[in-house]
Subunit: 560 residues, 2 copies
Amino acid sequence: MLKTRVIPPTEGAHSTPLLIKNLLLSGRRYERSQEIIYRDISRYDYATFNERICRLANVLTAAGVKPGDTVAVMDWDSHRYLECMFAVPMIGAVLHTINIRLSPEQILYTMNHADDIFVLVNAEFVPLYKAVEDHLTTVEKTILLTDGDEKTADLPNLVGEYETLLAAAAPTYDFPDFDENSVATTFYTTGTTGNPKGVYFTHRQLVLHTLTQAGMMGGLDSMRLFGNRDVYMPITPMFHVHAWGIPYTATLLGVKQVYPGRYEPEMLCKLIKQEKVTFSHCVPTILGMLLNADGAKDYDFGGMKVIIGGSALNRGLYEAAKARGMKLSAAYGMSETCPLISSGYINLELEAGSEDERAAYKIKAGVPVPLVEARIMDSDGNFLPSDGKSQGELVLRAPWLTQGYYREPEKSAELWAHGWMHTGDVATIDEMGFIEIRDRIKDVIKTGGEWISSLELEDLISLSPAVKEVAVVGVPDPQWDERPFALIVPREGQAMDAKVLRDHLKPFVDEGRINKWAIPTQIATVTEIPKTSVGKLDKKRIRVEIAEWQEAGAPFLSTL
Amino acid sequence: MLKTRVIPPTEGAHSTPLLIKNLLLSGRRYERSQEIIYRDISRYDYATFNERICRLANVLTAAGVKPGDTVAVMDWDSHRYLECMFAVPMIGAVLHTINIRLSPEQILYTMNHADDIFVLVNAEFVPLYKAVEDHLTTVEKTILLTDGDEKTADLPNLVGEYETLLAAAAPTYDFPDFDENSVATTFYTTGTTGNPKGVYFTHRQLVLHTLTQAGMMGGLDSMRLFGNRDVYMPITPMFHVHAWGIPYTATLLGVKQVYPGRYEPEMLCKLIKQEKVTFSHCVPTILGMLLNADGAKDYDFGGMKVIIGGSALNRGLYEAAKARGMKLSAAYGMSETCPLISSGYINLELEAGSEDERAAYKIKAGVPVPLVEARIMDSDGNFLPSDGKSQGELVLRAPWLTQGYYREPEKSAELWAHGWMHTGDVATIDEMGFIEIRDRIKDVIKTGGEWISSLELEDLISLSPAVKEVAVVGVPDPQWDERPFALIVPREGQAMDAKVLRDHLKPFVDEGRINKWAIPTQIATVTEIPKTSVGKLDKKRIRVEIAEWQEAGAPFLSTL
């Protein structure tokens, strides 16, 4: 280490570690009367929010939770979840946000692997909890979360019901200082093979992520995505990367926050209208669901800003959302990155260009936010140029990347090979700094010595008015190694087969955007496309199903 | 320390220390074609800016500057200064920003005390440098800074001229990682007694200050002070708390930056017009000078946003600036605080109120920014309530407060008594979190057992149309201990004496805003009020001069 000048602090000087408790200081000062809302069930202001965090800390401490313990939550998105995001790490414990969309076996695995000692369980998940309870190895106590009047449930090791416990607890708590590198949160990411992997984030990482997110979303005029006069509602689960960290940022700025529980289109639309929601974020599939839902078809979203991440935003969805009054902007990140890495941004040069060009940039993964380094690397660990053409794996450095997978030394070493965090995404970076994700490394279609991006194909196919939803994967081919295969949900009343698709894609071949062997020679028209627990296209399952259909000669297959 | 869960990082994982070099990543990505401008003399884009920082690092390294060394700058506000703010700390050295408005003796003291090894000297300061040169104990080498064609000067130990050296140096530099707690910058604050005191800030502190400043100024809609489509020009010297840290924040966001050199009103107005400056900051005295300057009297500032700090913003100046098209907003901080602590903010409650009420809040010290804790303390170290009434010393905690005065253990211990940083300011904090500075502890006027705020008196006196500028101090009084004494610069053609002043203040006594013994019984009408090197009222000198005038029975004294 370089011998720089480091001066020991004056005795008694306070240096303020980067702790989550400090994120609470400003919001209540800026806007004490702003509200935090849960469906039609709960509504209170920032002063009450702070008081409830203290009450929860007292409840947990009295129940025996100690610094370093893991406290897990099984809940829909709620004010209670938000309270746990603060109170649990603020007493020095670790918050495990359980992915309630995993299979019971996977949930059991993650709870044991994370050493969950204490679990807060929504009444709806009591049957699920009881199904795995016999095999839980570390859980000692539970708290019941309930939306209704029923304050008891047959939940083992029950300390009590959340609201009852909070009401009886003291409304102040003297939160201690401790090492800012203490783990604050953990959750599991589901790979395509093997067990879920636990990522974890420290107080320092979450504070830096929050400050950067606030500066980036507010300070960039061309975005003006988020300020304290916005009304925020996540449509991304809180168990998944802290709902992209935005609840922390909203709290920092004193923003009105609305939590919708589970994602029922009618409730979402009702809350958007009733609470005047101006800002949200979700994955493309959820947005598609919202736009097409029965209860929302005539709904005008009136300028609501929505960040799209998790999967690539295709142009078809971008335009469909625009027609319904939504302003979309893409962002990029993943479980391992806390998650914010880059976001859509229109610089001075693009501002001077055409609307069409700007839209093309808005659906890219965007420009890295402050403090993030992004590079393109080949499989030998060499950097490739950021010329907008060279494709390789996107690798990252930033102050808020997971420093490993919990208790997985080999996978951790792979993640951090060559001193850079490997995303598993194939990307280009252009001269303006824009990242464009070409594909997951494992989803790239290798055909006749060429690499075809499944994402690019999906993007072009989505532009067809006959297509409601699409997924493209590579399937084994004896002659070409792999061939692209398209799974398509057609729009109501629209014809779709391999020939219709070819006719749609032909002009893009003529323009030179794709080469002619990128045109899928076989497609399946289906009513639904398999998704993962966080709403992404589940290409692993899609490949398995295609193999089964091909084997069975399913009638909805169409071949050129 | 609490036993929380701290997981050692995966071998090879990179955690990204908070270093100033990382502040450079985003601006050039967001806006590569934005410019950095110095008067009519220099203009280049962010790509060139980054290249010049590398060139400067190569020049300094080749000249023998090592990590931990102190590199000092004597320059007017310029692009060169900005380059030094990055290149010097980025090679692990410490940047000493010399206060060129101090006396030669004080400058000499600070240069020796800070161990300056290397000095960059503007040609205009060569005579000053040579005047102290014989007594410099640590300086080994110098670089000449010049605005004109003259590339040489009779400067001892000269390595060369800045532009010539940069042109010959390589345009890339591989900046190393090192401890984020390394000192990055130092400068001296001038107290009322004794030698100047050296404060210092680490890389970590400056990065956190920058992120918070970006988030606070951009994310708060009611401020919308600063975004990347603004054009920034400081009117606060870069030697003084890094021009309030805003050059770092501007660079983070890719903002167009304009540096005006010294503060000549005509040049300032010309640059504001020519470069379309939208955002600036200064102390009240400089703003008054700008508004009243011969070359600027008819100038319409067209909505320019200006943050006022350093001293209290009085209502008279606020209204005068408003009439000229400026949007003022107060902020609070000091040399010891990096400096940002609080800033004007109009919350939902105030937004619903009257324009007059909002103005009253805009001139207060504002609401603390994220991560800052502010409390009121009595002289025994007890906290007083934040009720808007209780007065005591404002004490602070934040991640970016100086951890001591360099090589001054006793003064450092005083600064951090009771584990809180003492500001020396008497203040109140109200229920909404607004800080109101009542006075410097040493400037409060103690009369007949009451405390009178000299700032409040100055504020009320400034409302008189006959008053151009005012300072109030306590002078010794045998009967009342102290009595307020007003120093007034009258507006041209306006009559002013003790009776006129009494008539102006009488209504405020009737309203109960001040009590009747707050009315100064003696005043002096002068053409200029003594200021410190950073443009604040120099109350120490004012007291000395008043004593001399009273002794001599000066003709411009007026007594009730």
